[in-house]
């Protein structure tokens, strides 16, 4: 409503009309499909001919919960995401350290190779992953799906953490050594607290990447490891549009939480070294 008022006001004043028109179009493109899904998920006997559904209901949500065992599927999704985040972070810290602080010959090439899985469509190598996983009996295990997700999560972790670690002040680490701290103590008392903002950022990015991942899950899931995006896709095939809409909305809720976390957490100074500019 606020937007509309600003729009109307600016038209009345004849200022910046073009800008607001573009902004409105952008908003429409992004939010109209979302609003459609939302309406469908709570509408009863609504076939799209009317502006709004004639009756409102939460039945489709109940269906979604009961028929599709959505709690089980959400649990799957979260377990997989947590494993993928953990592995990616554990890879990301030492790799980020190597990229951020060491002189490595061919650093750019190595970084490009690490980022490659993010740049090419997952479907292009999902088949290869599936073949390998079938041989190793990793298909239909949480760990297996999570491992496939690491291919796209780890690049985020490495990218964010190498930037964070690069921003660490070498002199502060030297000061820690002079004060008597060995590498182990320096890591836990100085380095870890200083790169914590970067680690949190990396966790947010890797978590959303895994949580939203569809293609790689599709190629590696089994009946015990169905995730929310895959189940939503399958529901479309089953033809229950209303239930599918309800599932989509459920799928979105955690993402909104993450969005707020990102807004609070991801600021440039926190990304680079956490406490730069002291």
């Amino acid at each position: 409503m606020n937007l509309l008022r600003i729009y109307v006001k600016s038209i009345l004043r004849g200022r910046k009309v073009l800008i607001y028109t573009f902004l409105l179009c952008f908003g429409l493109i992004i939010y109209v499909p979302f609003i459609m899904i939302m309406l469908r998920s709570v509408g009863k006997n609504w076939f799209g001919r009317l502006w709004l559904p004639p009756e409102l209901t939460l039945d489709w949500y109940r269906w979604a919960v009961e028929v599709t065992k959505i709690f089980r599927i959400t649990a799957n999704t979260l377990i997989i995401a947590v494993i993928a985040v953990a592995i990616s972070t554990l890879i990301g810290i030492p790799t980020g350290w190597a990229f951020g602080r060491r002189k490595i010959p061919g650093k750019e090439l190595l970084m490009a190779m690490i980022l490659l899985p993010r740049m090419i469509p997952p479907i292009a190598y999902a088949l290869g992953i599936a073949q390998v996983f079938y041989r190793l009996h990793l298909v239909n295990t949480h760990f297996g799906v999570a491992l496939a997700h690491v291919a796209i999560c780890a690049p985020y972790a490495i990218l964010v953490l190498s930037a964070t670690i690069e921003g660490l002040d070498e002199r502060v680490l030297e000061a820690s050594a002079v004060c008597g701290a060995n590498r182990f103590k320096t890591f836990f008392h100085v380095i870890l607290p200083l790169i914590l903002p970067g680690i949190l950022t990396s966790i947010i990015f890797t978590f959303t990447a895994s949580y939203n991942e569809f293609t790689l899950t599709l190629m590696t899931y089994g009946k015990d490891t169905v995730t929310l995006p895959v189940r939503t896709y399958l529901a479309i095939g089953e033809g229950y549009w209303e239930v599918t809409s309800a599932m989509s909305i459920i799928l979105v809720i955690p993402s909104i939480f993450v969005l707020f976390m990102i807004q609070r957490q991801v600021t440039p100074e926190k990304l680079v070294g956490g406490f730069k500019g002291v």
Partner: protein
């Protein structure tokens, strides 16, 4: 055993093709404040980092308190260090920063608290104990850096250009504060700086470094009054240089005459002087006196002409032309004023003219 707290023996450190330290021999006595002085890139920081263990010498050995520490990692060397950019732990409070070395050493909490409070009192920062470094001014941060370095009574205090990130006035105040603190603790200190005024004001002894080598070690007076190379005379204080040949040496070797063009200048005789040998004469611009042209001559008094005057507040800086090839820089207090183009008499004080062989 010897009386050196720190000793570098034949230390050589290379970075690729650059020799940052070339056979450095340096002994620092117990309780002494030794300054490593030199322009940037002279290798003074490399030497300091050999003492801390952040650099491992390619050749030579490092001793602390008589023990060979060449292969001992930094954290076992029991040092205190103050950094140019302060290098405080940004995620810890002032108290946490000062407490850190004690915590690492596993000292119990009660004792830690007492020692930290004592250190904070020493630097007059008790009120700031729960501030974070970014909330402090540069001078305050550096005082916390000092407290962190001194709190566990290390054998040696190392200071790596600790004042160069501070503004000029504060720098001078902190100079005295650091010297005072070191005196009270009776600690051996190594101070690295490129600021010659700082070095002269603070040090018991100064080691002047250039291109990876130590050019001269001595007290500030020795370094300033009898520099042993043109580099040092040039780097420390202002100098006028005149090139000539030794024409005669007095029989008691108290003085000598150096002939520069057709001027015969009396100088303090050095031990290596020989008649007929080339000599580089140097004199500080404030050891040259200016008189009006009617002044009657004396030893080392020559006629000249004022070419340029720069006003410096408490004194004037003159450029004087003695002959076609000889220009002298002269600094004298503002009382006597001369004009550009004026003919004057110049007296190079004979007991202040020295020769670098």
């Amino acid at each position: 055993m010897n009386d050196y707290m720190i000793e570098l023996r034949d230390v050589t450190k290379r970075f690729g093709s650059i020799v940052a330290n070339n056979r450095i021999n340096l002994g620092i006595r117990r309780g002494e404040l030794m300054t490593l002085l030199g322009p940037s890139g002279c290798g003074k920081t490399t030497s300091l980092r050999c003492i801390t263990g952040h650099n491992i010498p390619d050749e030579g050995k490092v001793f602390i308190d008589g023990i060979d520490v060449t292969d001992v990692p930094t954290h076992k060397r029991e040092l205190g260090m103050v950094f140019q950019n302060f290098a405080l732990f940004p995620h810890m409070t002032v108290f946490g920063n000062v407490e850190f070395p004690l915590m690492i050493r596993g000292i119990n909490k009660r004792e830690r608290g007492e020692l930290v409070e004592e250190a904070l009192q020493l630097i007059r920062m008790e009120e700031y104990r729960s501030h974070h470094p970014r909330q402090l001014s540069g001078g305050q941060q550096q005082r916390v850096g000092l407290a962190r370095a001194l709190v566990y009574r290390p054998k040696v205090l190392l200071l790596d250009e600790p004042l160069s990130n501070l503004d000029a006035k504060l720098r001078e105040e902190m100079r005295f504060e650091i010297r005072d603190l070191i005196d009270r603790m009776g600690i051996t200190a190594v101070y690295v700086t490129h600021d010659q005024a700082e070095a002269l004001a603070l040090s018991d002894r100064v080691a002047v470094m250039n291109r990876g080598k130590i050019e001269q070690i001595g007290t500030p007076t020795e370094i300033y009054d009898s520099p042993q190379s043109r580099f040092i005379a040039d780097f420390i204080g202002l100098s006028d240089f005149l090139e000539g040949t030794v024409s005669s040496i007095r029989s008691d070797r108290g003085a000598a005459i150096v002939k520069v063009d057709d001027l015969e200048i009396q100088v303090v005789a050095g031990p290596n002087m020989e008649v007929g040998k080339r000599a580089l004469l140097f004199v500080r611009p404030n050891n040259v006196e200016l008189f009006s042209k009617t002044h009657e001559g004396g030893t080392n008094t020559f006629p000249g002409e004022v070419e340029k005057i720069t006003y410096l507040g408490d004194r004037n800086d003159y450029r004087i032309k003695l002959s076609n090839n000889i220009r002298l820089r002269v600094q004298s207090d503002s009382k006597a004023l001369f004009r550009v183009g004026e003919e004057v008499k110049v007296c190079l004080l004979p007991d202040q003219c020295r020769v670098i062989v």
